[in-house]
């Protein structure tokens, strides 16, 4: 088949909403874009364990501790589903780790903010996992099979994450004056970074059109952000907390809530590595990797030794 007909065949699969699988022919740019998107998503799940891991030993009750532990363990699982989906595109796990550890690959900027109080566990589950779900649900129908199947698993597990966060917020919001203040403070700090999670505005996202065409993105950043703002305003009423953005206002004509200007300078500054915890997060990952080396080597040595021994027994 000449190259152009490979391309035509691929385009027609995409147009007919037929899934692309690892052994199918695909354009280089599609492969590269997917590797970048899936591996960054995987990195975000893995680095995302750190801010919450910070509170596991200090959870206020055994129930909260068990729940937080289960949630963080799920995030590790999400990272692993996604890394293995990316590997089907021809990149190795070690190459991806290397890209993360050298700063070549990014992860979601939200995880470069600190978790100062227990209420942050509520705000993260409610807002950060909430925003992630909004991003991820449409990806269950993305064009690349292994990615779509990983996302189905991820989404099934995510809804408990958001609910446990909301439950923490609700408990604090209905608690003592100090607890309510704590919830409001966490909300205030996590709100803006959460709506930045959807990425730059559509005008600043030149690749959106191609990604939508390839069905590796199904809604634009601004569409998803608006959807998130709309549902969060309603949930905030249930909590009895104040929206951190004073410009939030129902717009009858648009049928959506208007919101205030986003501080994109802050966003880009954190992306570039200057957020409050960028260095701390990356150091934690690198240390875990470096200090775990002897364990990885020992496991390989043990496996090799056992194999040799079993081989010897059979031969005898």
């Amino acid at each position: 088949m000449p190259v152009h007909s490979f391309q035509e065949h691929f385009d027609s699969l995409i147009d007919r909403e037929i899934t692309i699988e690892p052994k199918d022919w695909m354009p280089d740019d599609y492969r590269k874009t997917l590797i970048r998107q899936i591996s960054q998503h995987a990195h975000s799940e893995i680095v995302g364990m750190l801010p919450e891991g910070n509170w596991i030993t200090r959870a206020p009750s055994l129930r909260r501790k068990a729940v937080l532990l289960a949630k963080v363990q799920d995030e590790a699982g999400h990272g692993l589903y996604l890394y293995s989906a990316a590997e089907t595109l021809g990149i190795t796990r070690d190459e991806m780790y290397n890209q993360l550890h050298t700063g070549k690959a990014k992860y979601s900027s939200i995880f470069n903010y600190p978790t100062l109080t227990w209420a942050d566990m509520g705000a993260i589950g409610w807002l950060v996992d909430g925003a992630a779900i909004m991003n991820q649900v449409p990806l269950c129908r993305t064009s690349y099979g292994p990615y779509a199947r990983a996302m189905v698993r991820v989404c099934k597990e995510e809804s408990f994450h958001q609910r446990q966060g909301f439950e923490i917020m609700l408990t604090l919001a209905k608690g003592t004056e100090i607890q309510k203040k704590m919830a409001q403070d966490a909300f205030n700090r996590w709100w803006w970074p959460s709506i930045m999670m959807f990425g730059p505005t559509d005008a600043e996202s030149p690749n959106t059109e191609q990604s939508v065409r390839w069905r590796i993105k199904r809604f634009t950043n601004d569409e998803l952000r608006q959807k998130f703002v709309d549902v969060t305003v309603e949930q905030t009423k249930v909590l009895g907390l104040e929206m951190p953005d004073k410009d939030i206002k129902w717009n009858e004509e648009r049928g959506h809530y208007d919101f205030g200007p986003i501080n994109w300078d802050e966003f880009w500054n954190v992306v570039k590595g200057n957020g409050p915890c960028n260095k701390q997060r990356l150091d934690a990952r690198k240390n875990a990797w470096d200090n775990g080396k002897w364990v990885r080597d020992a496991a390989m040595a043990h496996a090799a030794k056992r194999k040799a021994r079993e081989g010897g027994v059979k031969a005898a």
Binding site: D94, E157, A299, M300, H302, A303
Partner: protein, 102 residues
């Protein structure tokens, strides 16, 4: 760079494909893949990664290098022989109306 890359890959734990039987009576189904040093670790990792919510009653792991797959580029010729044998389907046969159950 090439040397570096080879070095990295050489130390990687092998890749395994994981198949899970979700409940008694059903087939094992592909769930995904993972890295592990040997088969026992692969099964234990598969339990942690793919069955945190009792998704399985039995796990198979196969080292990925032992999986052989058909070539999608050849599916036309590979499946072609099945295409023209519609008499393999029950709907090919016309039965008189009097035959109620068959």
């Amino acid at each position: 760079m090439t040397n570096d890359k080879m070095n990295i890959t050489k130390n990687e734990w092998p890749l395994w494909e994981v198949f899970i039987r979700s409940k008694a009576g059903l087939d094992h189904k592909h769930a995904g893949s993972l890295h592990a040093a040997d088969e026992q670790m692969a099964i234990e990792n598969a339990r942690d990664v793919y069955t945190r919510r009792m998704e399985g009653v039995s796990i198979w792991v196969v080292e990925s290098k032992y999986i052989h797959a058909s070539d999608p580029g050849e599916s036309a010729s590979l499946y072609d022989p099945a295409n023209d044998k519609i008499y393999r389907h029950p709907t090919f046969y016309e039965l008189p109306d009097e035959v109620k159950y068959m």
